[in-house]
């Protein structure tokens, strides 16, 4: 999946299997990623578990779990809210990017959105910086805090300074991707770019992710994942992310196509 960290680093990672996104004194988030295409190291998220840890005087421990088969609008214990004075609650919404569940943890100023896009899940969170404790020692592996380990990295960007000509799968420039075996249809860069332009107005990192996903999977449903991620970003303000000008030049034309 594509990861945007709390430090605004933007990465595309393999991270197959179960990985922790966040693990601090307030909450723990773990995801499970599964391969999407035979022969590619790319994976997508099939399960998300969020544990809101007990917070004295505000909420007892609550667990939320979503899978590709089930995106519940309740915690595991069946409740839709918890804590004192509605400090923790879930609401379900249907937006243009698909069905989503929003969890609000008022006591820690935190909002989470879990979406199902096509067959897979997306995750977005907004937390106050002062609850993150970047400097904490032994904070362990947390993808949202530290990004992916180097050996899990497929691609890396810097927000606001991303290259206009990203390396794309099929260009022969990334040997880690291996041969692609699209299960649906073959997308050329031109077709993938055109498809992503249907939903994304600005040719930024999210747009590049959309093109990447179409080229990697050949699955048109993946074009909605980046769109949904952007919608979540807008729904969880304020954010430091600045989108580039809509006039950004086109993504590099890949004559070699997959």
């Amino acid at each position: 999946p594509h990861l945007r960290t709390f430090r605004d680093e933007f990465q595309t990672c393999k991270v197959e299997g179960a990985w922790p996104l966040i693990d601090n004194r307030y909450l723990s988030v773990q995801v499970t990623n599964v391969p999407v295409v035979l022969g590619s190291s790319a994976t997508a998220t099939s399960k998300i578990t969020v544990i809101f840890k007990s917070y004295h005087g505000c909420t007892e421990q609550k667990v939320y779990q979503a899978t590709t088969e089930d995106l519940p609008s309740a915690f595991q214990d069946g409740s839709r809210s918890g804590g004192e004075g509605g400090s923790l609650w879930i609401v379900e919404k249907v937006g243009s990017g698909g069905r989503l569940v929003k969890i609000q943890a008022r006591y820690i100023g935190t909002s989470i959105i879990v979406r199902r896009v096509g067959r897979y899940l997306t995750f977005a969170i907004r937390m106050p910086e002062d609850t993150l404790d970047f400097s904490e020692e032994n904070s362990g592996l947390q993808l949202c805090l530290h990004g992916c380990p180097r050996n899990e990295l497929i691609k890396e960007h810097t927000l606001g300074r991303q290259p206009l000509h990203p390396r794309l799968p099929g260009s022969g420039s990334n040997p880690e991707l291996g041969p692609l075996l699209p299960p649906h249809q073959i997308y050329t860069v031109e077709r993938a770019t055109a498809k992503c332009r249907e939903t994304l107005q600005v040719e930024d990192i999210y747009f590049q992710s959309c093109v990447f996903d179409l080229l990697t999977t050949g699955d048109p449903e993946f074009s909605m994942a980046a769109y949904g991620a952007l919608e979540d970003l807008k729904a969880l303000p304020p954010s430091k992310l600045k989108q580039n000008s809509p006039r950004t030049p086109h993504v590099q034309q890949n004559r070699g196509g997959p």
Binding site: L3, L21, G109, A124, L233
Partner: protein, 119 residues
Amino acid sequence: CRIQRCNAEYVASTSPSSGLQDDSPSDVDYCIALRAYALCTRRTARSCRGDLVYHSAVFRIKELFTQHNCSSDGPTSSAKAPSTSRPVVSELCDYESRVLASGPAGQGKKYAHCGLFGD
């Protein structure tokens, strides 16, 4: 190492002139102050490694948690209290009102975003 700043903030928040309603803080207020103190020391842990004042503070905080029967989880700053009463629980459990209550420094709180999507 910013342990002295943590110490000063803790002393200020528990002193009689800290703006609390009574001369001595309630148990709830005291535990909030203590948790904020613990959080402050954790944040400065890396730069304070080996500093005797820091390590003494960490040791003392553990003792104070036990001594005052405070839980280590819970709010670290108090909600703005009405002039005649203590903050109610729902206010303590509302982060936004807590940071607003913490004064001008709390009004510019920054948020961070993390997202995972696509393949």
